[in-house]
């Protein structure tokens, strides 16, 4: 059914169609209206259990218990909420619990900022969670049932990452596949080892040096299996919805000489600029990395080798190079590909078409590494507050 709603609200409809049994959320900008929507579904009796918790740490901890007891579980957060969950985030993956979480990507403090970048989820990339990044709300809504499908088959948790405000608060037409079709796509969740007083077990308690690494090695191996499952889920969902997804999505890539690569909603703008420059006869293209964990290394290598590539990172690694740039560089090692790094667009500084044109221009010359900055000339913006005080060293 086509609905015209804000991203967060329409995601609530899709989550309800997936019939989670236990939801625990602590509302935080920018996904507050998703928690409202889920609360409404709970009040209407469509979601059987909704735990109102006192913080994000408790939200995920409650779901760890619920998931281990055999329930389909869902939560949502963003920004500081993700960081507050940091410890149970690792534990969820280590205990092999298929929790699905929607993240409204938001900058992290300090200074406090509620607007969008992707630092919060990128900082959790080593946790063992599958991460799916969405370009628009249609992709986000379609990612939810696929996330449950993959999570419950491989017993790994999934983050569906949606840019805060840019998508969560954007009102657009979205097709929400109805409950019957979603239920036919999604088999009921059965954890092979659920908590049961008749047959008691404890999960994730303790492992000696002899055993601990074995579990982590197993996680690494299963992440590779998850890659195939993500493709399988996307194919099956394609048959249900008519919309087809992959680990990566190339746009006018085949004959492109210069390509911009990135995650999330910024890529929709890149596609627009690709169309614009193609009309002028420039051979440009784009690559959206939909699945960041497991990292589709081979697929990226095949798609990008030999081209002039620019990586857009909307998260930074302070004291090192930008994360997506480094990983793509490693994937392209030995293929004589020019790789540039554009990082920034943090804390609500969106990427405008003028920046993207600029990046495509810079790719002509060769590898660069530089900040994406909003030039006040472009926006008419005069920055005279929050500049900070310079300290003499």
């Amino acid at each position: 059914m086509i609905k015209t709603k804000s991203g967060a609200k329409v995601l609530g409809d899709m989550v309800a169609n997936c019939k989670p049994q236990v939801v625990a959320c602590y509302p935080i900008t920018p996904t507050t209206s998703l928690t409202e929507s889920l609360n409404q579904y709970y009040a209407d009796g469509k979601i059987p259990e909704y735990i109102t918790v006192e913080a994000e740490f408790s939200a995920l901890s409650a779901l760890i218990g619920a998931s281990a007891a055999g329930a389909r579980t869902f939560t949502t957060t963003g920004g500081q909420g993700v960081l507050y969950m940091h410890e149970p985030i690792f534990a969820t993956a280590g205990m092999r619990l298929p929790v699905v979480m929607l993240i409204g990507n938001r900058a992290v403090s300090a200074p406090l900022n509620i607007w969008n970048d992707e630092q919060d989820t990128i900082s959790q990339r080593d946790s063992g969670w599958i991460q799916i990044y969405c370009k628009n709300n249609q992709e986000a809504v379609d990612a939810i049932p696929q996330a449950f499908y993959v999570a419950e088959k491989i017993l790994l948790p999934v983050m569906v990452c949606v840019d805060g405000f840019l998508l969560t608060h954007a009102v657009e037409q979205v097709d929400v596949v109805d409950e019957k079709k979603v239920q036919a796509f999604l088999p009921p969740y059965k954890h092979p080892l659920k908590l049961d007083s008749e047959n008691p077990v404890s999960v994730g308690v303790y492992a000696n040096p002899t055993h601990y690494q074995m579990f982590r090695e197993d996680l690494m191996e299963d992440m590779k299996v998850a890659k195939d499952l993500l493709v399988e889920a996307a194919e099956k969902w394609g048959k249900v919805s008519g919309r087809h997804y992959g680990l990566i999505e190339g746009y006018k890539l085949d004959d492109a000489e210069r390509v911009l690569v990135g995650l999330g909603s910024a890529m929709d703008n890149v596609y627009l600029v690709v169309d614009e420059l193609r009309e002028k006869g420039e051979k440009v293209g784009a690559l959206h990395i939909r699945v960041y964990r497991p990292f589709p290394r081979e697929e990226i290598k095949q798609a990008l080798k030999g081209k002039k590539v620019g990586i857009i990172d909307r998260a930074i690694s302070i004291g090192a190079q930008a994360p997506l740039y480094l990983e793509t560089l490693e994937a392209l090692n030995g293929t004589s590909t020019d790789v540039s790094s554009f990082y920034g667009s943090l804390g609500g500084r969106g990427i405008k078409r003028i920046h993207i044109r600029d990046m495509f221009e810079k790719l002509k010359k060769g590898p660069v590494k530089e900040w994406i900055t909003v030039n006040p000339e472009f926006t008419g913006l005069k920055v005279n507050v929050g500049k900070g005080k310079e300290v003499k060293k």
Binding site: V201, V205, T210
Partner: protein
């Protein structure tokens, strides 16, 4: 796919004896069978009270409490050779 889980009582398979750098060795001739070491041992692996200690080295972590408490100093801590 391995789910890290444990059934009740299975923690005995964690052989904590692997942790030790020093192992207690009892000189039975000097021992007065007072039972102090057995009462103080945090792991309860020093055998039966009022008998010469029989140490379960699979679980002895080498904490030295027994050697420290022994009134006649008949327990010495010897280095565990580990390559």
């Amino acid at each position: 796919m391995i789910i890290p889980h444990a059934k009740p009582g299975s923690s005995t398979s964690n052989l904590t004896g692997e942790w030790k750098a020093f192992m207690p060795v009892v000189n039975g001739d000097k021992c007065i069978k007072c039972g102090i070491c057995q009462n103080f041992c945090p792991e309860g692996i020093m055998g039966v009270v009022k008998k010469i200690p029989e140490i379960d080295y699979e679980y002895c972590k080498g904490c030295s409490v027994c050697a420290n408490e022994c009134p006649v100093k008949c327990i010495v801590m010897e280095r565990v050779e580990d390559d």
